[in-house]
Symmetry: C2
Subunit: 198 residues, 2 copies
DNA sequence: CCTAGAACTCAACACTCATTGAATTCAACG
DNA sequence: CGTTGAATTCAATGAGTGTTGAGTTCTAGG
């Protein structure tokens, strides 16, 4: 069979792959695509840079693989439409802040976002995230300009992530998650199901 | 006297300096600090790379000088507090969208924002912009957590700029300025002078 | 006219980057 | 035990980076 079984000092395949992926995600999230060098990622994973290209083909391939999102995320977004309509803003705020606080999903999102500023392919990933996944939610909520609502919600999400985690402006950067949810929920409520203009 | 007077094919000092500054602003705004190379900027300005360091000392110095904002901008922000209180969101939305559409100020803001993702010094500039300049406005509007309101407004501004100009998500990227103002004004109104939570 | 100094260019340096191909080390299997 | 093949390393390559110092060309002042 093909189950792992490391012995000696050499790690099994998936084990090393995962170590590289983990280090790469952290690096992309922390310093962006350009400054996350193969060398720094390899060093963090305790590995030779050449091994990264052996596993992932190229830096581009590494980035693509490592910033992939679980496909069930789109469904989870759409699922937020279920439940009381006057609380959808709150549910959405909880979901977004939850994903940004979750150590499994945060690096993926920050890697995409930080890299989007200089790496066109990363920008495309963010674009897709905003218009497709958020579009699923808004179009199952209303018929009144759902694409506009999706992109407005996206604006708010991107702004939150950028200001809180990338630029780190106080007091937002140190606010606890619950307070962030409280403060954002009304805005999302209006954007998602309220009147778009006054 | 020291007035310019170009003749022959050589340009006067300020003329060349300005050409370099212009090209640098555009480059930083378009591709961010790291990908805006001295060579590409020099080529765009029709000049040798060494001349840039002759004028600006270093790439860092160039960036710092070229992304400086007119000092009267802070005052302009605070000035938005004057006028009917129930329309301050609209005035603020107009001011922000105006700055982002104005070809003189847009590159400066986008250069800061795009570079903030990977360049810590640029991140500091954005941080300063949000907490200082927006703080001036909110603290002259209310005593109810003005710093929190400033950073929330900043979140919205950053999100707008990033989604509309950097990532370019439709339909926001192609929306005309007036429509953007209409759609953002209510959000700003609530953030600036409305109740912070429901 | 001539000379001082500023604008400007050229070629090079020292580095860092991603990627490569050949070598080596190991684990599993017959 | 010996051999196949994958995991892993090593050293090198070529391209691109910011910066430097010496050199050239122009303008302005005496």
């Amino acid at each position: 069979m093909s189950s792992t079984g490391r012995s000696g000092r050499r790690r099994g395949e998936t084990q090393t792959r995962d170590a590289i992926a983990f280090a790469a995600r952290a690096a992309f999230a922390d310093v962006g695509y350009d400054r996350a060098t193969m060398r720094s990622i390899a060093a963090a994973a305790g590995v030779d840079p050449a091994l990264i290209v052996h596993f992932f083909g190229s830096k581009e391939g590494l980035f693509r693989e490592v910033t992939a999102l679980p496909p069930e995320m789109g469904a989870a977004m759409a699922g937020l439409a279920d439940g009381p309509r006057q609380e959808v803003g709150l549910r959405f705020a909880q979901a977004v802040v939850g994903m940004l606080e979750n150590p499994a999903t945060r690096p993926v999102i920050l890697a995409r976002l930080r890299s989007a500023a200089s790496h066109p392919e990363a920008a495309a990933l963010v674009r897709e995230l905003v218009s497709r996944d958020l579009g699923l939610l808004t179009s199952s909520l209303t018929d009144d300009r759902p694409e506009a609502r999706a992109v407005l919600a996206g604006t708010q999400v991107v702004g939150l992530a950028f200001v809180r985690y990338v630029v780190r402006v106080e007091p937002l950067a140190s606010m606890d998650a619950a307070a962030v949810v409280d403060v954002l929920a009304p805005t999302f409520q209006r954007i998602l199901v309220g009147p778009l203009t006054d």
